[in-house]
């Protein structure tokens, strides 16, 4: 057994155990934390496969941003466990069907490499060992797939604008501050110095 192999088994074992814990943990916050552990181990597996860039991006994007918001929401929600368990049997068939479809697709994907190796290699670009993989991804992403890349960015932008439009409400009875106006205010415009004679008042 070599060192990378040892780490491969370590990462995969922890990833699988934590993935099981995600669906079996009673506390939803624990479930999200196990999900994060699973992400971490997936990142470790990427690292072992030589895809350091993907590994670190997985940590930055999924663990550092997406899972934080996930955790944020789960902590804020007051989840009622009893009502969640009630519909379990009702939804079970749908879940089983989705699981079977996913499993079949994965088997097909893995099987196609065995059945016809040339079909599997048709779409992939050959790996050039002399370039590091971040540069390699960039060279493909910004040349061959540039329009798809821009399209994906446009979809994300539309989703973001949609979310903002749905949630942004301008309430008329809330006092809003404009820091630019506040800073630009001069004492001469708002203050008046009055000499008051004693005993007379204003």
């Amino acid at each position: 057994m070599t060192l990378p192999l040892f780490f491969f088994y370590l990462f995969s074992a922890v990833a699988i155990v934590s993935a099981v814990m995600v669906i079996s943990a009673r506390n939803p916050v624990h479930a999200v934390l196990f999900l994060i552990l699973a992400f971490f181990n997936a990142s470790g597996l990427f690292m072992l496969a030589g895809a350091e860039f993907l590994a670190l991006i997985l940590v930055v994007v999924y663990v550092g941003a997406v899972a934080v918001l996930f955790l944020f929401v789960v902590m804020m929600l007051d989840v009622d466990f009893a009502s969640m368990r009630q519909g379990f049997l009702q939804y079970a068939p749908v879940g089983v069907i989705v699981g079977i479809v996913l499993l079949l697709e994965l088997l097909l994907l893995a099987g196609s490499f065995v059945i016809s190796p040339e079909a599997a290699g048709g779409s992939a670009l050959p790996i050039d060992g002399t370039v590091d993989n971040m540069r390699a991804i960039g060279q493909v992403l910004y040349t061959r797939y540039v329009f798809l890349f821009q399209g994906a960015a446009a979809v994300l932008l539309v989703a973001m604008i949609g979310a903002i439009v749905l949630t942004l409400k301008h309430k008329s009875n809330v006092k809003r501050q404009n820091p630019v106006d506040q800073v630009a205010r001069r004492a001469s415009e708002t203050l008046e110095v009055v000499k008051v004679k004693s005993g007379q008042g204003l």
Binding site: F53, L56, F72
Partner: protein, 365 residues
């Protein structure tokens, strides 16, 4: 069992004694750890002394000469007291949170080159690794706040989650601008690039190497990075996470003794990590500011820590002289000011580099 031997050699090897082929990783890591902890102890004291000096107080001055041993006395006090865990707390997560904070803060230092070739791991994706590590720092705070099962810590951790995720974005974009100029993600390359090109070379005075560093051509990004670093590490004026006037001590309210010590340690080490990142990205890393003999005799390691201390001095001054921000204004400068500014700078820098052909080409594969 071959791999155990090779792993042992990698971790524990001592070539002088004929055991293994390289100096073990553990010794280097221990050296860095101990050095960093001692440095942190004095930085903590410096923080309190500077704060006191601005307010015309003396600061800690009882333990040791000029209070120099104050931090060590504090360490003993924290380590010897009883750690209290609240009854309603999630015990495992409650104790895990400070460990996460301290471990992540220390892990970031593994890739920092403190001198030419002196990094525990001089990896090619060093800066991305740092970004990943600093984006994880929020977990210690969120888990700590939630596991305490108490209102103030929870509110504090919610604030910090939003704050740290917001400022991560502008830090990431600032790093991208620097990367565009260098063309490499290796931290040592970034430092070398600042030596080999820049304003001093253009002006024909290459010995004035402090003019070469990126703080000058990327000055707006330098400022954005400095302020974002304050916000990212929950330093005043952005310490709403633990704003004592409203949240007692924020996410640390329920912590005591060693777990609290770990939180404080993690916080200060990640502040130093941010100072080190500023040094590497903008202030030329281990290089001496003037490339002439009396200055170049000083080893790079010393220059590096002098620069880190100077950056920390500005962190401490910000704490002493700037009043605390209001939360909505904090979010406003993060999203409405820094994000558009840094996004625009990424595009402008990319255009300038493409049109003029400037930038460092030593790292291009």
């Amino acid at each position: 069992m071959d791999f155990i031997l090779s792993a042992l050699d990698y971790l524990l090897g001592i070539p002088v004694l004929g055991w293994g082929v390289q100096v073990g990783l553990i010794y280097k890591a221990l050296l860095l750890l101990v050095g960093l902890l001692i440095f942190t102890a004095f930085i903590l004291l410096a923080d309190r002394k500077i704060w006191a000096a601005v307010q015309i107080r003396r600061g800690p001055n009882v333990v040791g000469p000029f209070g120099l041993l104050q931090s060590f006395a504090d360490l003993l006090k924290f380590a010897l007291k009883e750690a209290i865990i609240p009854g309603g707390a999630d015990k495992v997560l409650f104790l895990l949170a400070p460990l996460i904070t301290a471990t992540l803060a220390l892990a970031g230092w593994a890739v920092i080159p403190v001198d030419a070739g002196l990094a525990i791991a001089d990896i090619n994706l060093g800066i991305l690794y740092l970004l990943a590590i600093s984006s994880l720092g929020v977990y210690g705070v969120i888990i700590g706040g939630w596991a305490s099962n108490s209102k103030y810590p929870f509110l504090g951790s919610l604030r910090s989650a939003a704050q740290m995720v917001s400022y991560e974005v502008s830090i990431g974009l600032v790093i991208i601008t620097v990367l565009l100029c260098v063309g490499s993600l290796n931290l040592s390359d970034i430092v070398v690039a600042q030596q080999e090109m820049g304003l001093a070379h253009l002006l024909g005075v290459p010995w004035l190497s402090f003019l070469n560093w990126f703080w000058l051509p990327l000055f707006p990004m330098f400022i954005v990075f400095y302020i974002s670093a304050l916000a990212e590490t929950n330093r005043p004026p952005f310490d709403l996470v633990e704003g004592e006037s409203e949240l007692v001590a924020g996410f640390m309210t329920e912590y005591s003794a060693t777990p609290y010590l770990l939180f404080m340690l993690g916080e200060y080490i990640s502040i130093l990590l941010m100072c080190a990142m500023t040094t590497v990205l903008f202030l030329g890393g281990w290089a001496s500011p003037i490339d002439l003999p009396p200055f170049t005799w000083i080893p790079g390691l010393v220059w590096f820590f002098i620069k880190v201390s100077v950056v920390f001095f500005f962190f401490a001054m910000a704490k002493a002289i700037v009043p605390r921000y209001r939360y909505d204004q904090l979010m406003r400068i993060g999203w409405k000011l820094f994000l558009p500014l840094s996004l625009a700078m990424v595009i402008i820098v990319a255009f300038v580099l493409q049109l003029t052909g400037w930038g460092w080409h030593g790292g291009m594969a």
